[in-house]
Symmetry: C2
Subunit: 517 residues, 2 copies
Amino acid sequence: MSTGDENHGSNPPPQAEAGGEAGYGDVKGGALFSIPGYGWADVAALEQSMAGRAVRVRGAAHAVRAVGRRVAFVVLRQGTSTVQCVVAAAAGGGDAGMVRLAAGLSRESVVDVAGVVSLPREPVHGTTQQQVEIQVKKLHCISRATPNLPISVGRRSAKRGRRRQSQSCKLFPAVNLLHHGQAGEQVVHVGQDKRLDYRVIDLRTPANQAIFRVQCEVENIFRQVLLSEGFVGIHTPKLIGGSSEGGAAVFKLDYNGQPGCLAQSPQLHKQMAVCGGFERVFEVGPVFRAEDSNTHRHLCEFVGLDMEMVIRDHYFEVCDVVDRLFVAMFDHLNKNCTKELETIDRQYPFKPLKYLPKTLRIEYDEGIGMLKEAGVHVEAMGDLNTEAEKKLGELVHAKYGTDLYMLCRYPSAVRPFYTMPCPDDPRYSNSFDVFVRGEEIISGAQRVHIPELLARQAEARGIAVGSIAAYIDSFRYGAPPHGGFGVGLERVVMLFCGLGNIRKASLFPRDPRRLQP
Amino acid sequence: MSTGDENHGSNPPPQAEAGGEAGYGDVKGGALFSIPGYGWADVAALEQSMAGRAVRVRGAAHAVRAVGRRVAFVVLRQGTSTVQCVVAAAAGGGDAGMVRLAAGLSRESVVDVAGVVSLPREPVHGTTQQQVEIQVKKLHCISRATPNLPISVGRRSAKRGRRRQSQSCKLFPAVNLLHHGQAGEQVVHVGQDKRLDYRVIDLRTPANQAIFRVQCEVENIFRQVLLSEGFVGIHTPKLIGGSSEGGAAVFKLDYNGQPGCLAQSPQLHKQMAVCGGFERVFEVGPVFRAEDSNTHRHLCEFVGLDMEMVIRDHYFEVCDVVDRLFVAMFDHLNKNCTKELETIDRQYPFKPLKYLPKTLRIEYDEGIGMLKEAGVHVEAMGDLNTEAEKKLGELVHAKYGTDLYMLCRYPSAVRPFYTMPCPDDPRYSNSFDVFVRGEEIISGAQRVHIPELLARQAEARGIAVGSIAAYIDSFRYGAPPHGGFGVGLERVVMLFCGLGNIRKASLFPRDPRRLQP
C-alpha cells in the first residue's frame, strides 16, 4: 500500500478498513484506511498500459447513472480529469448493495474506488479518460455532498436527459459560467455573484482550475526572472501608521490604541529597502484599496507584484527589466501552459496576446499625437481616460502589431509627487505605464531620492509636507537614485487570458460589496 | 558605457555629465549621466585581474580620511562589500577641489567614483576588497547624508582614532547591535528600538544584509519544494467578514459599511481551496494578530508559510512533506548561504542547527514521559508551556542529538475545534507541532472535513455553531480528507540563526507598540 511516499518517520498506527467485509459503504467519523493490494493512482495518470492493475482512486462523483439494479456508472473527477467507474453486481447478486450505494451517490460526493483498470470495448464518451475505465471492487463514500447543490459543476444547460450528461462531461462548464464583463461597464452579474457565493464549488470547474494554475505560473516567473537578475524578495508591512500616503481610499483601523491603516502599496517600504542597501528588491503581497469602484478591473484587495531597484544612468533600466520579465513570462505561459490556456479558452474564448520580442516603447506625446490624428479629443498634458487608453491600444495594435507596449515620459502633472521629473524638461517625468490589450497593467517610474525636491513637489501639489515628513526623512541618510513598478497579479492573468472581469482571476475576490466567502 | 544591460528598447535621451569640466562635484537635481570610457562595476566584483581598467562604482561613503590637503581615502560600500578609493591631487594641484570634496563627504552619502583599478603595495586593512583599490579620476556626490546620523553603520565602540575605523571596516557592526533577547522575557531594548526607528540605516549593516537574504532563500526553498511536489501557490483574502474564527485577537475594521477584520490565518480559505479541487496548495502571505504579546517571539504582523493538502491514508502524509521540506531547506541554507550565515554569526554568534536527515517524530505522551522522568511537573493531557517546551527540547537534544523534531498525537483538548481526533482514541488528535531549538515553529494537523463532527466539536468547546455556519457549510458539497500546517517565516529565520529576537528577522517589525516606520 503506497501513500505516495514511503518514508514515514515512524509507523502510523494501523487504521481499520471501513465498510468491513462488504467492501463498500459510507466511511464513518472521517476514518482513513489502507486497502492491501490497491495502490493509489491519480485519475490523470491512468493509461492503457495499466490494464489489469488494481488501483485506488479518490475523487468527486461527477456524474452517476444506474442501469437497472445490477450496474451503475460513476464518473469520478479528480482535478480536471475524469474516468468512468463501472459498478456491477456479481452474478450471485452479492454486490447489489454496492450498486445501490453507487446509484444513490449525490453529485460531488467524495468517493474512494478500489478496482481494476480495464479497457472499454469502445472509447468512453464524455470523460477525459476515454481509453480506460475502472471495474469497481470496493466503493466507499468519504463525504456525502448535499443532494441539492446551489450551483452545478457539471451541467451546461437546463435540458434534461442523457445528452445533457454526456455533454457536461466533455467540457463540464457550469451553469452561468459564460458571462463576460464589458470593459468600463458597471458589472453586476447575478450568475457570477452566485458562483462567487459558492466559490468552493465554482472553483472545481476546469476553467477555474486552469486560471489559478496560470496565476501561480505568473508569480513563479515573476520571481524567477527577478531572482536571476539579483533581486532579493522582501516582505513589507501591510499595517502602517497614520493614513497611507496615497490619499483617501484607505482602510483604517485601531492598532492597539494608535491610528493605523492598511498599505495601499508597498511604495515607501520598498524604497526604504533600496535605501537600506538592498539594491534590487521585489515583493509579492496583498494591496488594499478602499475605493468604491465597482468596475470589471478593480478589487478592494489584490496581489501586488512590486519591484524597486537602483538606477545607474537612466530610468529605462527599469523598463528593460519590465521588458525582459514580461516577455519571458508570456513566452513561458504560451509554451508551458498550453493545456490550461486551451481549457480557459473553451470556457472564455480569447485571442492569444500579440507581443513583440522587444517591447515597443513610445513617448506619451507620440501617443497623444496618434489619438489626435485619429480624431480623438485629448488634452496635450492631461491624463488619458480608460476610453482613450483603449483607443490608443487599438491604434498601436494596428500600427505596430502588438497588444503589449510601454508609454513613457508622462507629463509630471498626472503622476504622483514622488515621481522624478525629466532632467531636460520638468513638465515631463521619468515615468511609464505598460498596456496590455488597451488596458493599463503596470505603472512605474524613477522616484525622487532628493529630500528637498520631494518636499517641493509635494508642496506644489498641495500636500502638507509635515504629514509626509517620515517619508521624506528616509532619504536624508544617503539615498541612491532608484525606481520601480507595480502590477496586479489578477490583472496580468485577466488581460493575458482576456477574461473580461478581474473577479475571475481572484480566488476569493473582494470588491466594494463582497467580503464573503 | 554599460548600464548592466545593453538592450535599451529605444535610445534614452542623452543626459549631460554633471560636474562639468572639473569632473567632480555635487550632482544637482537628481540628474543621471554617463561617463564615456568608464564602465559600471560592482564593488564585490572587483579583482586583481582588473588592474588598469577604468571603472565606475557607486556606493555609500562608509569611511572618509584625509591626509593633509593632497590625499583623501574614501571607503566605498556597496551591499556588504567595501573598497578603498584614493583621491589624490595632481602635482599641479589642479584636483585639490576633488580632495576637498572627498574629505568633506558625510558618512553614508551616496557617491559615484570613476577611476582606475590599481593594486595597493600592501593589502588594504579594514575593507572587504584588500588586494585592489581605485585611483579616483572623477568624483560625484549623488546624495548627501545628514552629517549627524542618528545611528551609525560603521562604529563598533565609542573609542576614537584610527583603530576604530579599521576595526569598523572589518566587521562593520553598528553601535548597539549586540543585544540578544532572552527566551520568554519581556524584551525592551532601547538600543534595538532606536535601530528599528532608523531601520533604513540599520538595514545597511552586514548582519541585516545577510539575514534578509537568508529569509528570501527560506521562502524560495519553501516554494520550490512544494511546487516540485505538485502544490499550487494561491493567495487568499486578508480582509474577511465578521470577526475571524480564531477569537479575540483580531484587527477589526469597517469595510464599506460592513464589519470586517484581518485574517489571523489563511486556515479557512486554504481549506476551501482544497475542497475547491486544488488538491495541494500553499500560500506565502501576511498574517495579522492583534495580541498584546510583547515577547521575543511574537509579532502583530508576520509572514505565514502555509500549506494544505488532501490526505489519503494518514495524516503523517503531511508530516512527511514537513520533513522533506525543512530538511531540504536547512541543507540548502547550510550549503548555499555559508557567507551569509558566517556574517550573521559574527554579529550574533550562534550554534549551527543540529538536525537529522529524517526528522525525529515522537508522540506527545512520550514527550510528557520524558519531562516527568526529568522531574518536570506537567499535566498528562494538558498543554506544554514555553518552559516545558524548552526543557523537552534539551532532553530530545541530549537523547536523540537533534534540535529539530516533531511532537505528534496531541491531546484533542489543547487543539482547535477543527482538528481531527485520532480514530482509535478521540482524546488524542491527528495533529503535530514541530520544534526548533526547543521552540514551537510549526503547527499542523488533519482537519475535520465532516460538517456534523465539526459542529459537534465546536459545540463541545462552547463555540456558537451559528457564528461559524459559513465555515461548516464549506464542507457540505463534498470534502476530501485534508490537513496542513502553518509556519512563520520570521520564526524560521530567527530559530535557524539563533537570533533570539523575532524583530531581527522582520524587515519592518510590527509589535504591540511599533507601527513605524
